[in-house]
Symmetry: C2
Subunit: 717 residues, 2 copies
């Protein structure tokens, strides 16, 4: 029996997390190990005890399917302990599986490293585990998600990307799968609850789910749960504006629990209920007011129902209360009376939780989220039960606002972070594309971790796509921040690229994926206007356009070199954002040139206007390719988000082409001189006079108005 | 002999000034009077003494020609006192014409009302003035311009508009001209020097004079002098940027004096020299610096030459000094030392004037113009000789800045006003069209008059056209402010319209001419942007557009009703500004709608963009009609001024069509609701939520950033 742990050399990059299986899975027979593939082309079966929780039984089936994705032959599932094959994979949890317990008792399975730990697992190869069995590959979890993460770690080591379905990352077919003999251990995550928030789901996620699944139903959510578990997430705030998770299908809460997903509700929806449940049915609740001061009994009733229907499910309950629909609480008159009211709300909520869940309130995980104005109640001294996790929200643009003070860190509920990678709201919305450079996420979440805000991390991911990369990075950090040091981000990204596209283009793809996100933060595409990049100073506009054009050239080259089956994944993960964001920037710069050239009366004013029109069409062509052509239209609507022509934080209803000016060239004939990098031209204001000094000063001096008292001299430098 | 003076009933409106001839000229024979026309179809001759100044002899010839313009038969000029016809018109001045003096001596001509007065005249019909003469119509001036204004008053009473050539106002042919017997007197003007400044002459005036005359030469200036005299102006600051009046043709100064025009130079060009004379020849003057501290001797030499060449001419000399080309004086280090230097400059200038003009300096009229920064030197206590007229400049936009204080009013040189009807400079340029409502001019110049700033009035009139109406009004006020009371402006305008177009359409044309100028000041066309008029509040944009459209309808109706020979005058004086300014405003409003409709994702976004494009073309079509079609192209280039797309005070080099946005209608299909007069729409930010109150607050609250310390509540009203 091998005792090496966390073997480092390997065959597949495993940088998503520092997987204990890194390099342990071999696609050849050069080192001794447990063969999953059989000489006859078959594969070993997967055993899971019928007594295991549904979530573990389900993941065993997924592992069996993954083996099929890699080898072409799905593994058989075996449940009957009395009829074990000679060689098999065992997936189980401590305490739920007689077979596991028997192996432990027999000293064949060493679980000292994981016993009693949260979401931990061990993968061990065991020779002659029991009479009649030659060898077994055991995936054992300290709990159900430990087993799930262990099974998916095995899948990942075989080359099944978490994004195999969600980003069409092709699985490379292997005829040989051999796990090097060993004892691999994965300890618990740094952050207990790690999750995502599907938010502001229209038009993209809504449109896509409606077309593909008929709505945000179980078909959709099971796909989502699977992805989350493959990414070692455990916590979900479901889409809510036009959706109500627990109502749209009453089986949803149990389904989530069957997957092992911990459900919650968003920062402004307490007690496991979507706000839509209230707005759709408020007429049945007292006076219909979402106001605890005036409609308390009815709101308690509403809370009570939310908890009752989740009795027995693993949940994290959002407590507290905001106003009617993601707005501030309606004040009772003073901050102090508001604080008092909120304390009453939370006190009542905890009684309802204890009653509904049939356990003490402090045994049910709860969060109170300090979003926007909610900070002020905390700041004003609101007394919160010690076991409730306090989640600090960022400033909506990925900058943390608060971190726990040393004096606060002792609280048993700890702290968490509600982080935005996508925003529909002020100061501005960014919902179209990934504009989250990984170093920025690292820098902020590293602070969170170092300051002890690591009980719960949740990221607002909008429609989920196209934030694949930052979502995975965020969850990897949540699992183990130490795996992603500040100097390891590039390496992590390269490994991520290798997992999706193989070794050959990993460096280049990692470069592209990092670089487009970096460019997208200078500023975010939604904030670019024709005035963003200077046409005059330091060649800024030109340099930015050239940088983007360089990315496009490199992305196109990779695209041309990839296998055809990799193109869809490459388009959605790299090529579309690179092309579309380059085009967008170039469109705005053309619009700036159009305006400047009009000022200079250049004939090419029209050329630039045409360029703006062409790039506006190109933007939609690229979008249409994403929606309709890529992966045969599988992701239709996912790029429906408008993103050109903001005039408010709210996205434009339709993309608005940047306005372009025109000249009447027939009457503007003449010779002129303009110098690149200078807004001035001849003829024109600045150059109309013989003497530049007089000229420059003329505009100011001639145009000045002086009050009678004003005698100060006006000189230009 | 009749003794009625200023007869009021009449046949031709004479509101330009309250002419003493008002209603005295008859085109029938119903009242007794002096017949200018003869029964045989001929006309009486015009006598002018050969000893009269050239300017009086010239105007006699012009009067003879005007009689021809009206009757078809130009009058003969008679100079020989010994061979007088039986009936004639006599034009003369007191003290220059033996015949006039003889009539006065004989008691036939009563000049008590005008003798010794400035620019006064009397028109008298005299029976049997001398042996062999039946009757004479005598136009006698107290001085040469008195005679000139008297002669032109007679022309005007016959129906020759001052604008007969300059605005193609047709002269109505008359077969009968009879001046009712009488004694008509015109006393002196209220303002001694009344003039215009041709300024910033490119591209319009320059282009036009180059094409029509080969430059701003004598052909051009004699046309201008004649117009000025017909309008009772006497003072000119000539065009200067690319012109030098006294150098472009060395005969110019004498020519002006021969017309009776008092020449000056602009506010920033001292000592009768164009600044261009310096810039073109600075290398011949000392170190070439326009700096009295460093190049005094050479600049004195330059001044000296300017005065010497004008010796004997009637001039008003601009004194003082500004910087190198209509900019502030280069400081010597402190305001006090600058004041001292300026006092030295003016002291030296007065010695040069006295030497060059061979008379005491205080006998040569001088002005010092307080333009922009020049005020500060006066404010700092600069000591100015009492006889130099101080001219206060407005704020460049027709608002007076200073008026004489009671303590200042005693000075012998008095005060004057330099007023802008056209501006090339800050705070913004307005050079295209007339945007000077007469009530505004009245209000400001009434202040000037009432506060005693009435020694010299000069208006910056840009290219002269198309400011015909405000120029005439300004000069009428300068002649006698009492004639134009605040309640008489409409009447004055109606009379002006009648003089140009006859009685039938006078009311309507006066309305149109007043109204377009009024609309052009809310704000000036150069200042209009798509954001100027609100699409939402009080239907402002719609109402402004409808007001303009109403003017266009009424102007078109007048145009259709006028005689063909009146159309050119009507186009330039009324129809073009009405149509072009209406079109301009409607274009900007369409641009505003285009932007708003884009925000609302309306399909008609494109309709408005097309409307902008159409109106942009229309603007140039109207301009081209003015330049090329109207009056057979006589005024080509006069409408070359760009006027769309300002991005600085400086006019755009070429007109820039307001930028228009576009939508991709193919991908923006859908149903929406927008309410007229409201920027909100559905779908869209403001209406996305069910509850308007929550909705409105969401944008603010959700987007807010709070510092940790901030606990203030944020509530929307």
């Amino acid at each position: 029996m091998f005792t090496r742990r966390n073997v480092l050399e390997g065959a597949i990059a495993s940088g998503a997390f520092a997987s204990p299986l890194a390099a342990a899975m071999r696609f050849d027979r050069r080192a001794p190990g447990f063969d999953i593939t059989l000489p006859d082309g078959g594969v070993v079966p997967v055993f899971v005890d019928a007594a295991e929780p549904a979530s573990v039984r389900r993941v065993a089936a997924d592992l069996a399917a993954d083996i099929g994705r890699v080898t072409g032959t799905p593994a058989r599932i075996v449940n009957d302990r009395r009829r074990l094959p000679a060689r098999f994979i065992l997936v189980g949890t401590l305490g739920n599986s007689p077979l596991v317990d028997q192996l432990v008792a027999a000293g064949k399975l060493d679980v000292a490293d994981i016993r009693g730990k949260w979401e931990s697992f061990s993968i061990q190869t065991i020779a002659q585990p029991m009479p009649g069995v030659t060898e077994a590959l055991v995936v054992v979890g300290s709990d159900r998600r430990g087993a799930i993460y262990g099974a998916y770690d095995l899948s990942r080591s075989m080359g099944v990307s978490p994004w195999y379905w969600w980003a069409d990352v092709p699985v490379v077919r292997r005829s040989q799968l051999r796990l090097r003999y060993g004892h691999y251990v994965q300890g618990p995550p740094a952050v207990r609850y790690r999750g995502i928030f599907l938010n502001d789901e229209a038009p993209c996620l809504s449109g896509w789910t409606t077309e593909k699944f008929g709505g945000m139903n179980a078909q959709f959510y099971t796909k989502l749960f699977e992805l989350m578990l493959r990414l070692r997430a455990n916590y979900l705030w479901p889409a809510m504006w036009n959706n109500a998770f627990a109502i749209d299908d009453a089986a949803h809460p149990a389904l989530a629990d069957d997957y092992g997903i911990v459900m919650g509700t968003s920062h402004h929806e307490p007690m496991m209920r979507a706000h839509k449940e209230w707005t759709d049915n408020r007429q049945h609740y007292g006076n219909g007011e979402w106001n605890y001061a005036t409609n308390r009994a009815a709101i308690r009733q509403f809370f009570n129902e939310g908890i009752k229907r989740n009795a027995g499910n693993e949940v994290v309950v959002t407590v507290g209360m905001r106003g009617d629909g993601d707005v501030a609480l309606e004040s009772t008159g003073s901050l102090q009376s508001d604080v008092k009211l909120l304390e009453e709300v939370i006190g009542d909520q905890r009684r309802i939780i204890a009653d509904g869940m049939h356990m003490p309130a402090d045994k049910v995980p709860q969060v109170w989220v300090l979003f926007t104005e909610v900070y002020k109640y905390y700041d004003a001294g609101l007394k919160l039960p010690d076991d409730v996790t306090i989640m600090f929200a960022d400033d909506n643009v990925g900058n943390l606002r608060w971190l726990p003070l040393p004096s606060e860190r002792g609280r048993s509920g700890g702290f968490g972070i509600y982080f935005h990678m996508d925003m529909h709201g002020g100061p501005f919305a960014y919902q179209w594309i990934n504009s989250n450079p990984l170093p920025k996420i690292w820098e902020q979440m590293n602070l969170a971790n170092r300051y002890g805000a690591n009980e719960t991390w949740i990221a607002n991911v909008g429609d989920l796509k196209p934030l694949e990369l930052p979502i995975e990075f965020f969850l990897a950090m949540a699992w183990n921040p130490a795996d992603v040091g500040k100097d390891k981000i590039a390496r992590w990204t390269r490994d991520w690229a290798e997992r999706q596209f193989g070794t050959e283009h990993a460096d280049e793809i990692a470069f592209l994926a990092s670089r487009y996100a970096k460019y997208n933060a200078l500023p975010k595409p939604e904030k670019i206007t024709p005035g963003t990049y200077s046409l005059e100073h330091y060649g800024e506009a030109e340099r930015v356009c050239e940088a983007w054009a360089g990315l496009v050239r490199r992305a196109d080259a990779v695209d041309a070199a990839l296998r055809p089956d990799q193109r869809d994944a490459f388009y959605q993960l790299v090529l579309y954002p690179v092309r579309a964001c380059a085009n967008l920037t170039q469109m705005y710069v053309a619009a700036a040139r159009n305006a400047r050239f009009a000022e200079q009366a250049r004939a090419s004013t029209k050329v630039e206007a045409d360029e703006v029109r062409r790039r506006f069409r190109t933007d939609h062509d690229l979008r249409d390719t994403y929606n309709h052509v890529m992966a045969g239209g599988k992701w239709n609507h996912m790029m429906d988000q408008t993103h050109i022509g903001y005039f408010d934080w709210y996205p434009p209803i339709a993309d608005i082409m940047p306005p372009v000016a025109d000249l009447d060239l027939d009457s503007a004939s003449g010779f002129g001189v303009a110098v690149d990098g200078d807004s001035r031209s001849w003829p024109g204001y600045y150059c109309r006079r013989h003497f530049p000094r007089s000229t420059a000063s003329r505009g100011v001096r001639r145009g000045s108005r002086f009050s009678r008292a004003e005698t100060a001299r006006r000189r230009l430098p």
